[in-house]
Subunit: 348 residues, 4 copies
């Protein structure tokens, strides 16, 4: 074990019960790694809409004996390693994995009890100056990104990667539609562009559409000004789009079924409009569509994303960075709907 840790205490946010009022920024002792663990000095934590659902509504929140720390996506440096650790050494830059221990293949859970294990939910989170991770729960950070950028990959980046690349086999000449301009949507936009696909962005905000086009979107559709499905028909000569990242959820799925091309694929990712999804049978059947449920992805996928980022020069879009003490303001920003990602920076 290499020991680079000077500090003995650290700051972290904790949530003692559901509701934002129950958040506290506290001091705690810096923990020591077990035999298979690494101690990571965190420099950046990226937030996801799901963190709001955990804090405000208790989604998957399960407080244990230890004070609960929110958030799942950390970037930092390994500062100490347990005696059995072989994948990392002190000094390595790493990012965390969202679903701990899912290396590859089809993953955990049963029909009755689907997997809900994830950092910052059923398991302890990472909004902490130091975190312990099993050595299997991290991957090397991309060399081409700084820590704030790297912290955006474990959840939002990997979700778009799993949907479009691992399951969607996206290729040049395809058309991809993303809902909104949040973290997953913009990763979807950038990854689709990196594979030579055309991208349609649907949003209610002309300014965000303009920024999305500056990032490479081919078409922006303002859903408040026009029927977005009709706009898709018009822009594609009725052909529709090959892949859709469905981030709105609820009855909105029905619109995506209409917009999809024959043999199209819809990745179900978000639930902004509710968990009860619905739509009409006929477009789904007559166009032979596939609707795929996406739960972030496995570590092997994250390693693939890291390679892709390093080789293509893709830079994640960060709308704003907040100091650790300003986490509540970061949550407010998240609730308003950022353009891309919100990152919390750790104090040096």
């Amino acid at each position: 074990m290499n020991q680079h840790v000077k500090a003995s205490t650290m700051k972290r946010w904790t949530l003692k019960a559901i509701g934002r009022d129950n958040l506290d920024l506290r001091s705690a002792a810096v923990p020591a790694p077990g035999p298979a663990e690494i101690l990571v000095k965190v420099s950046a934590v990226s937030l996801n809409y799901r963190d709001l659902l955990v804090i405000d509504e208790g989604l998957g929140f399960s407080p244990g004996s230890e004070p609960f720390v929110p958030a799942s996506d950390a970037a930092g440096m390994v500062v100490a390693t347990g005696g059995d650790v072989s994948r990392f050494k002190a000094g390595d830059r790493v990012i965390s994995t969202f679903i701990p221990g899912w290396i590859d293949g089809s993953g955990f859970g049963t029909a009755r009890e689907p997997n809900s294990l994830a950092l910052g939910g059923a398991m302890q989170g990472v909004l902490s100056k130091y975190v312990l991770l099993d050595e299997d729960w991290a991957v090397k950070a991309p060399e081409s990104l700084n820590d704030a950028e790297a912290s955006t990959l474990p959840c939002a980046g990997l979700t778009a990667w799993t949907a479009l690349v691992e399951r969607g086999h996206i290729h040049a000449g395809q058309t991809v539609l993303v809902q909104g301009t949040g973290g997953v949507a913009l990763f979807g936009l950038q990854l689709a562009r990196a594979h030579g696909a055309e991208v349609f962005v649907v949003s209610g905000d002309d300014d965000k559409l303009a920024r999305a086009k500056a990032l490479g979107a081919t078409y922006g559709i303002n859903r408040k000004k026009e029927d977005w499905v009709e706009a898709v028909y018009h822009l594609t000569g009725d052909r529709g789009v090959d892949q859709i990242l469905e981030i709105v959820g609820g009855a909105h799925l029905g619109q995506s079924l209409k917009a999809a091309a024959v043999s199209g694929r819809i990745s179900l990712i978000g639930v902004l409009e509710g968990f009860d999804i619905s739509g009409h049978f006929l477009p789904l059947a007559l166009k032979r569509l596939t609707v795929d449920g996406i739960q972030v992805g496995h570590r092997s996928g994250l390693e693939g994303l890291v390679r892709a980022v390093d080789r293509t020069g893709l830079k994640p879009v960060i709308d704003a960075e907040y100091e650790l003490a300003d986490f509540p303001q970061a949550l407010d920003h998240l609730a308003r709907g950022p353009f891309g990602k919100i990152v919390v920076k750790m104090p040096g």
Copy 2:
């Protein structure tokens, strides 16, 4: 052109407007094949639930100048061929294809106008002593089946094949659940068994469950006597089932999402309980399920099914055969819910 046709007139059922009262058994001239067409002397026509929807509710019904003939699935013998025909010769036993001209690949249609071309719907049907088919709209009948059995393959058989084999890559040791004991469900049962899978049948009728078990089903679940999803959990040790043929539709999809195993696949096929499908997001996402819309299948798939039938000895289940004049009684039987298929036999 080889001419084996003795008759100059023939019987066929026609539908002049939506509603069963508008069915008539009429005489018509036996047509002559165009250059790329074959004339088929039909000996058996298999019925599908969709034929009820066409006749009773007008689903896809589009009357043209020619009197509309219902039904899509015919078996018979080629008796004459157009001058450019190369795939068949007089004397060949053939079955029709449900979606005419879909040879392979992803198929027809646009996002706005999904494919609705099918025999006995948007196109002329086959409930007729003789039918003309483009030579691309038929395949050789399996040698191991008689004509009544062979006539059940083009829609019900191919739908189950597409769902389980072409898209589902079913293999030994998997678990498959089928809803009910209609034509697609029993083909699903038999094809799953032919691939070494275990089959769960859900029905509200103990007698039908007993017959399904005699056909090879491992488990029968009476949905009127117990919660079928809980029964699946119990029988699988909570693991759930790998593939589901969802034939009920409507909100029932939500139940199938609960019953599916991690990485499971649900093939959306039927709409007995309605075209508005719905369910909860969480099992779909947290179990990384795939929901596939199935529209019967392509000709290449039907050829694969024919080979499979000949090599495995699979015998389609026919609940009853009706004489041509008794087509209305056959429809009544179909509406009551047969065990397997209903076939209409043509007069010699």
Copy 3:
């Protein structure tokens, strides 16, 4: 039928027997389309190494009653259409398909008689001012390319597309290695780059390597100056490359087996060093490699390539254009090994 043809005679190259001395530039009558045919006024014909094998060695050459015309890849304009034609109208810009009638799916042939049907080989070729094509044997030309560029897609472009995209599911972050800098190799380079992959080019010519790097290759390896497999190990930290376009053939396959990464894919395309391919079992088995035989590809793939070209702006690399009368000089250039493609332009 729309008739835009003014001329009644046309020029074309014919081959009366194997051997370049048997090539003649002749006049012939402009043919009229049959019911399902289109008459194409050809403006550019792209050559392939295979054309040398046909002319010099008789590969697949089968002279019929009609004088044999070489070459397979044409771009031009539809000038007349048969009465049954529905896919094209006069005035459409089109390119030919290499394997006529292979629309999608697994294609033609038997174990004993593999498919050898192709334009300019077992079938009549296109080095002619006008050519007749079945309407199923052509696709719309990409709008973003001129005719000379468009003519390079049917064989070389589609071969690289089939290998990397249709069968290889190439994605960002992967590594691709191409042998040499001929037509297929440079399409492979450009398509890999369009999907965010890194490209290694192996050549014996530093000048060509420099030009390949200007086109986007990440690494150039001069096989005359160093062991290219060792160079791959060095450049990848021993990881190897994910996909290889094996264009050299013969015993060279054994080198590619060594250079491939775990779970890598080798597309067998070329036979510059002979038809008897060989290699060692252990790298193939212990790295779980896949070796795929590639025969150009189907029409559906060509349509996908056309969309990709139009949406990504990919410009095929043409080393030189020759006048029709200079076809023999074009063949000499082809034999020397061009950088990209050789195109023969038709007289206005």
Copy 4:
């Protein structure tokens, strides 16, 4: 930790240098499991042709400080577990995995150093009354098999499963050809039959062909009496076979390329005729064949095979069982070419 071990010493075969003369049956102390290990009381060990290559030719043999124990495939009972073990408890029936630690996905190794880790080769083997395994290196034994039968799954069974099911997506109506009647070939036969496929067996021994037909083979071809490729053409009407398990290796691959159907798949498994494989380019390219290198398979595949065995009732074919002391005689039988598997039984 549950301790069911009474004995303090045990018998095991060791190999101190390459060559069968260097085998010794020795006593050793029963080891104690480390924190993540299980101690397995072995009741049956299945042999593979590869064990001959290790012992006689040193393939992958790497003696360490500990005396080397041959063989890779064990079935037995867990009798003690380390303190961190969660997958097993004392009393569980287990089988070993051939490649330790390969759970799922694409696996280990680099281009330069392909994976060679396997029990009984680069790593310690299992021909020992007790063996220590990392808890990740075992799976539950199938309930429907006795220990001798279960011991045949880890290498021979899984190899056939990986080739036909995981990578080959075998389905009903396909045709499969296996070379010979050894362990992998007969598993291939049985698994193909369990998926509704037709099986061709090629052997030089009429008696073995008769036994293969009794097991379900559709056709037996005596390669000493006829050209087996011509026989395949004849029996399939020139269509060829969809999948081939190529177990002979060397130049024999060229024959398999000829026998394969269009879009066929050849799984490279064996090297009876040598490690230098070769064949002709044209059938590979013109039939768009895939040649897949197979290295046994991952643990997730073995779990799938166990489920398939339990659900289909497949019984592995054991040609002979030998006592531990008769291991040399078992090797002789292996060298002569058994019909199915050879198993060594451990003393109670």
